[in-house]
Subunit: 656 residues, 2 copies
Amino acid sequence: MKTHKIKFLPHGKEIDFEESESVLHAAMEAGVHVNASCGGEGFCGKCRIIIEKGDIEDGISEHLSKEDLDAGYRLACRSRIKSDLTVRIPVESEIDASILNRAPPRRTARIQQMNLEDLKSKGLFIPPVEKRHLELPEPTSADNLADTSRLIGFLRLKHDEHRLVVRLPVIRKIPGTLREAGFKITVTLDRPVFDGGKTHIVNIEPGDTTGRNFAIAVDIGTTTVYGQLIDLITGSVLAEHGDFNGQISYGEDIISRIIYAEKPGGLDTLHEVVIRTINRIIDHVIETSQVDRQQVSTITFAGNTTMTQILLQIDPRFIRRHPYVPASTLYPSIRAVDLGIDLVDHATALVYPSISSFIGGDIVAGVMGSGIHLSDQLSLFIDIGTNAEIVIGNRDWLTCAACSAGPAFEGGGVQCGMRADIGAIEDFSVDPHTLEPMILTVGNVRPRGICGSGLINIVARLLEAGIIDNRGKFNRDLKSYRLREKDGVYEYLLDRQEQTQIGRDIVITENDIGNLVRAKGAIYSGCQTLLEAVGLKIADLDRIVLAGGFGSHIDIEMAMTIGLLPEIDPDKITYIGNGSLLGARMCALTNRIRKDVVNVMKKMTNFELSETPSFMAHYVAALFLPHTDLDLFPKVKGRLERRPGPKPVVIKELMS
Amino acid sequence: MKTHKIKFLPHGKEIDFEESESVLHAAMEAGVHVNASCGGEGFCGKCRIIIEKGDIEDGISEHLSKEDLDAGYRLACRSRIKSDLTVRIPVESEIDASILNRAPPRRTARIQQMNLEDLKSKGLFIPPVEKRHLELPEPTSADNLADTSRLIGFLRLKHDEHRLVVRLPVIRKIPGTLREAGFKITVTLDRPVFDGGKTHIVNIEPGDTTGRNFAIAVDIGTTTVYGQLIDLITGSVLAEHGDFNGQISYGEDIISRIIYAEKPGGLDTLHEVVIRTINRIIDHVIETSQVDRQQVSTITFAGNTTMTQILLQIDPRFIRRHPYVPASTLYPSIRAVDLGIDLVDHATALVYPSISSFIGGDIVAGVMGSGIHLSDQLSLFIDIGTNAEIVIGNRDWLTCAACSAGPAFEGGGVQCGMRADIGAIEDFSVDPHTLEPMILTVGNVRPRGICGSGLINIVARLLEAGIIDNRGKFNRDLKSYRLREKDGVYEYLLDRQEQTQIGRDIVITENDIGNLVRAKGAIYSGCQTLLEAVGLKIADLDRIVLAGGFGSHIDIEMAMTIGLLPEIDPDKITYIGNGSLLGARMCALTNRIRKDVVNVMKKMTNFELSETPSFMAHYVAALFLPHTDLDLFPKVKGRLERRPGPKPVVIKELMS
């Protein structure tokens, strides 16, 4: 993607930004405040800028008079970058530069991708299901070995294959296929997990089909199911597709699914429904990639413990009952068709193991995908959602825990909360003098609500601007129509009902902030508790890996500002995207994963935070922004000390 | 069974014989000739004897006048033994005692049974599927292992079980069963063949059911299917049942079955039909033994290669096509239900491996059952039928071959041949002076034909009496209405049409004898060829094991007389009955069999006799009675030299 250098005046901040993107986005990314409350749609007409140098496209609006246009005014949200630019923010829409300069630029985590070449160079690109071509001598009177013996003998001789077992359906096919194909055939080999195990011959085909071997990797989320079609010869992803998990009709969250599964026939229904979703995704990726369905020999699955148990038709009722015992951690490999998956009879289904009822195969897959189990570095792996799962450790040891963070990160328990759909406020800054906001929404349309990452950004910016204090309370001294009390609760007006898509004011309330504080507090204190359990502390962390949809939107600086993430060098935070899908894909590419995952399971210590005495103290101390102990967040502390507005409340007083 | 001492006068031969049996049978067994042509039914009235001492029951007939009765005459066939007896054979029905004394008494092979105690004492009574009871601690907050992990952990701790794999259907049952049963449960373990393999947990039941574990062993014969229900705790057979293989409607022999299988849908039909037969047998043995079908955890199968392939739905067409290649030798263990067997889902089906298209799992099972693979002795294992299978070897090596003997042993290609059913002539002797026969039939009814063992006995007795020569030709010098030429073929009249059940004369022709000679020649020369291939000769044989239905009827002395069996000490010939069923039963009792059988397969060299150059020379030399080289049969040679009638034809002349 072509980028251009954008310079913002008067403060002189510069950023490299992609061509055709809007100047408003570039400003947000650079940490430059421009008043804007319509989310980027061009509706409010507030984001006036002057293009001093360079070319833009559009930028014109009915909000600008002929005089404005002549004077070089444009709307930032409508101005598409075409070249290097120098952009001046007019006085009326610019806040005190000295203050804004202290705010960190928008920053998402660096994306960590799977390194296929690395896998290949290490000789680990050995899929769990492989093919081998053989040209066998035809039997004669002097050499009338049984067909299967001939096949096995030559696999040993020509391909150094040992410990082979032939499945009965293959034995049935062997005599006919050999003769029909002139004894030139391809066999499909299903690898054992451990070296001493047996390799199963699961298929035989006429001719040489070794160039066509595919897998499907599936992440079964409670809400969404994603599938990828993978070429097992090149390792590349040929197609990807996501769809809502059909189980949604039977309950939005895990608990309601389990309750439904407990009804007569409920488990079977939920199983069938998710299999239908998976089959639809398979149809889609097969159609998109024009791959022969017969050549898909593996399907790998990762999902949370409940999704996994339902996939495998295992009653999940005890997952939600004290003491929260899953049916199993490891699952045997099975035939995909036995689950109702629409693939060939011999296609193998591999399912990621779960650690506990709350740390499922999706997290294990993410850990395997991230590689933290192979590293000397002390890493924190974190998948943030209603239940945030945390894994901390390195190549020698691993600990994990699930934190019940509540639904705030998914927009739940927040008055104007919503999922990260079109119209969700995802970016925000605020003028500390006027309290006027700069709002960007998903899709650059007028706002409909606040998504989780937006909530973090809003709270962080309000904190940095001194509009809320470290308890998450609004500064009652500030006077603005944007700060008000309603039904006894203080709130900040993000957007007026005339501008929103929902016909109501969009606000953030102290209650919303409180929910976020509790959510982030649970996660941060979970990390502390795990680290403490092994005699370490936050400062010892070398690396943070974010996983899950939420991780891609999160502004890592803002997340550190509110105390959600430990404050470390942002370069050491990476994002692996859908870790569950990544792990599922890796499992299809390298059989080594299945061996490693057993070792990871052995090394992993699971903590039930609610049963861990130190957790509650850590939790209470984390119920501040960013934390009771500001020394854990030195950079944030520095910024807060220089901000306008109230000094941090002295915590000792509060806690006495 | 109570026995009595029976002494026959005038020659003084004695025999211990069972109470209630007929004196005629005792005479036959003792080698005492009594004229009798009605098979033992009392119809001909020829078998007149005088009871000189002791008590009999019956013995009276309308053939005997009052004078006869007063003189102590009775019919031997109607006289039931009640005490020790002295029986005089009247002159008119007795042959020259000096000659008869040289004929060996009737002798069947000693029965060799499976030694269960030996198995137990050697610690080998470990069925392939076993049960273990466990009382698990209930999970708590501090101990909330996954259910499956808890189960596996305690199996390791309490029962020293390792390398465990849990099948998915069991994982599905575990959570519910554990809780319903208060964590007191029994698991069923499916053992691996080799020590390094995995033990599969295939079932979980509430409570302690370790006392109830059963298996079914099945021999799938081309004609008949036999099943046994076995108690895997005691090792005993609780019920046994046989039934005709339902495939008979689709062809009597293997070739016609294969031809049927090649038709569209033919294989499926034959498969379904034999599965129906097997299921009927299972129903029967389960009903008889009052065992809970749910507790049958294993079914073991042995059958010839064609029967095995049809059982497993593997196209057998290449078995009958040059170069006669079977689909496989080893077969994986599978779920019985996958074959359509009416047992519980987790019941394991184990199928004996085949050596080649002609040496099938029935023979391998017989070898395993006989234990010749464990012995230092050089043993000949032989199953005589249309195809006679021969295995020769010891603990260090084994060779095998199939001889195409033709159907003579099953009554085929013999003018009055029949199966060993009611009315089949099975025992015979002949008065060398009068040429009058002594005939006993199966069921002691008037004759319907000649069965295979009867044919051997007839030919042997005719040879010993000098009525045929060593080429199997009748002595043209003998004058009797019993010897005659019909349509250019010489024949011996066994029974006149008035006496038979078929309304025709029952005869044995020179063509019949020729067929028998070729059949026995093929078998004997097969043995020689195998022995020669490993640098040994007939005289090196330590032991002969007979298997198959035919082996139980065969008179081993007569079999040696005609040169079917090598001449060795009759004490060294044993009969194992249905070797296939025996092997199937042993496989259910000791998992060691599955390991041993793989080693046996590796040690076994299969010979295609038709491809072995030396076979034809041996075969031609064996087309005499008993053989060209009489020194191979010193005992027979001695008797023949002292017999009446023609001296042996000098073979050299014949062969020039």
